[in-house]
C-alpha cells in the first residue's frame, strides 16, 4: 500500500473497531475512540505514576507533573483570579487531554484525536457551556452585562452590543477551529513531505539524492509540530481561562 502513504487524508479516516448502534445512531468504538482511551490512559498513568512516591524533592517525572499542575494553576489564577480556581480541574483536564492527544498524534500510524473538528468543537462547547451555565447561575441576568461594556456612549451601544454578541458566539468556533486546523494542517504537511521522500526515492539514484530535501523538511516539521502540539494545548487552556474569567466577572 505504497500509495496510501502518499495519501495525506488517509490518516484522518475513521473506521469502526467494535461496531455499535444505539437508537439509530452509529456509536461504534472506532480508532478515534481507541485513541481517546489511549490519550486518557497515557495521561492518567503518567500523572499517577510519576507522583506515586510523593517525594519531597521531586524526580524528573514528578517535576514534569508538578510543572504542568503549577503551570495551569498559575495560568488560571492570573486570568481569572482566586475565584477561578474552582475550575482548576476542568482547565487542567482540558490542557492535559489536548496536549497528550496532540503529542500521541505525532507518532507514525497513530490517530490524532484533535484533528477532527467535532472533537475540538465538543471540547469548546464544554468550555462555553460552562461559562454560560455558571455565568447565569452566579449572576442571573447580570451575566448579560458581559455584552454591555462600561463607558460606551448610548448611541454607540446597539453597535457595540451587536459586536460583543457576535464575538461571544464566535468563541466556540474560533476555539475549536484553531486547534483542529492546526493539527490537521500540520499532519497533512508532514504526510505530504514524507510522501515526497517515498515517491522520489522510487525514481532511482537521482531521486534518492533529491529526497534528502523533503526528508530534512519532514524532520524540521516534526520538531515544529512538537511545538505546535504544546502551543495549541496552551492556547486552548489560556482562552478557556479567559472565557471563565468572563463568567466570574461579567462586567468589564
Amino acid at each position: 500500500m505504497a500509495a496510501d502513504k502518499v495519501d495525506p487524508i488517509h490518516q484522518f479516516q475513521i473506521h469502526p473497531i467494535i461496531p455499535l448502534h444505539i437508537g439509530g445512531y452509529d456509536v461504534s468504538f472506532t480508532n478515534s475512540a481507541l485513541f481517546m482511551v489511549v490519550t486518557i490512559v497515557v495521561a492518567s498513568a503518567f500523572l499517577y505514576m510519576s507522583t506515586a512516591s510523593r517525594a519531597l524533592i521531586p524526580g524528573r517525572l514528578q517535576s514534569v507533573s508538578e510543572m504542568a499542575y503549577e503551570f495551569v494553576g498559575n495560568m488560571l489564577r492570573d486570568a481569572a483570579g482566586k475565584q477561578g480556581m474552582q475550575f482548576f480541574p476542568l482547565v487542567f483536564s482540558l490542557f492535559m487531554f489536548v496536549l497528550v492527544a496532540n503529542l500521541i498524534g505525532l507518532f507514525p500510524y497513530f490517530f490524532t484525536v484533535t484533528s477532527h473538528i467535532i472533537v475540538t468543537f465538543t471540547l469548546a462547547a464544554l468550555v462555553i457551556g460552562t461559562v454560560i451555565v455558571y455565568g447565569f447561575a452566579k449572576h442571573g441576568f447580570g451575566f448579560l452585562k458581559l455584552f454591555v461594556p462600561h463607558g460606551v456612549p448610548g448611541y454607540l451601544l446597539p453597535l457595540v452590543v451587536a459586536i460583543e454578541v457576535v464575538s461571544f458566539v464566535s468563541r466556540p468556533v474560533s476555539l475549536s477551529v484553531r486547534l483542529f486546523a492546526n493539527m490537521l494542517a500540520g499532519h497533512i504537511t508532514l504526510k505530504v513531505f514524507s510522501g515526497f521522500v517515498v515517491s522520489l526515492s522510487a525514481l532511482g539514484a537521482v531521486g534518492i539524492a533529491g529526497s534528502v530535501l523533503p526528508l530534512a523538511m519532514a524532520v524540521a516539521l516534526s520538531a515544529l509540530e512538537m511545538l505546535v502540539a504544546f502551543l495549541q494545548a496552551y492556547v486552548f487552556a489560556v482562552l478557556t481561562c479567559m472565557y471563565l474569567n468572563d463568567a466570574l466577572h461579567p462586567s468589564h
Binding site: 500509495a3 502518499v6 495519501d7 495525506p8 487524508i9 484522518f12 479516516q13 475513521i14 469502526p16 455499535l20 445512531y25 452509529d26 456509536v27 461504534s28 468504538f29 472506532t30 478515534s32 475512540a33 481517546m36 482511551v37 490519550t39 486518557i40 495521561a43 492518567s44 500523572l47 499517577y48 507522583t51 510523593r54 517525594a55 519531597l56 521531586p58 514528578q62 507533573s65 508538578e66 499542575y69 503549577e70 482548576f88 480541574p89 476542568l90 487542567f92 483536564s93 492535559m96 487531554f97 484525536v113 484533528s115 477532527h116 473538528i117 467535532i118 472533537v119 465538543t122 471540547l123 464544554l126 477551529v177 483542529f180 486546523a181 490537521l184 494542517a185 497533512i188 505530504v192 510522501g195
Partner: protein
Amino acid sequence: MFVTSAFAQESAPATAEGNTHAGTTVPAEEHETFPPFNAATFPSQILWLVITFALFYLFLKRVVMPRIGDIIDVRNDRITQDLDHAARLKGEADAAVAAYEQELAEAKARANAIGQQASEAAKADAESTRKKLEAELEKKLGEAEASIASIKAKAMKEVGTIAEDTTSAIVEALVGGKTDKAEISAAVKSATR
C-alpha cells in the same frame, strides 16, 4: 468511502493541498471524502469523547490533583517550617551577640569607674600631701620671718647704742669733757629718723 483507487492515488496529494486551505470553508463538495467533515462519525466521536473525557476529568479531580496539590503543600509547609527554624536560630544568635555586647559594655563601664576612682583617690591624696607640706612651709616661713624681724629689731636697737657710743666718743675727742648721755641719745634719734 474513497473514490476509485487509481483516481484517488493520482489526485489525492493535489486535492489535499486544496483541502487544507479550502476544506474548512467549502466542505460541501468534499463531504464524502474528507473524514473530519463526515457527519456520520459525529455521534460516535461525541459519545466516546464525553465518556473518556468525563472519566479523565473525574480521575484528575479525585486522585491526581489532590495528590499533586498535597505534595506541593507539604513541600511549602516544610520550606516555611525550615525558614521559621532558621529565623528562630538567627534570633537566638542575635540575642547571644546582644548579651555579649551588653556584658562587654558593662565591663568597660566598670573598668572606667575603677580607673576614675583610683585616679581621683590618687589626686586627693596628692592634694592633701601638698596642702600639708604647704602649711608646714608656711609655718616655717612665718617662724623664719619672725626671727628675722626680731633679729633686725635687736640689731637696730644695737645700732642706736653703737651710734650713741660712737657719737659720745667723737664728741669727747673733739670737744673734750663729759658728754650728756641723754642729749646724745636724742640727737642720734633725730638724725637717724
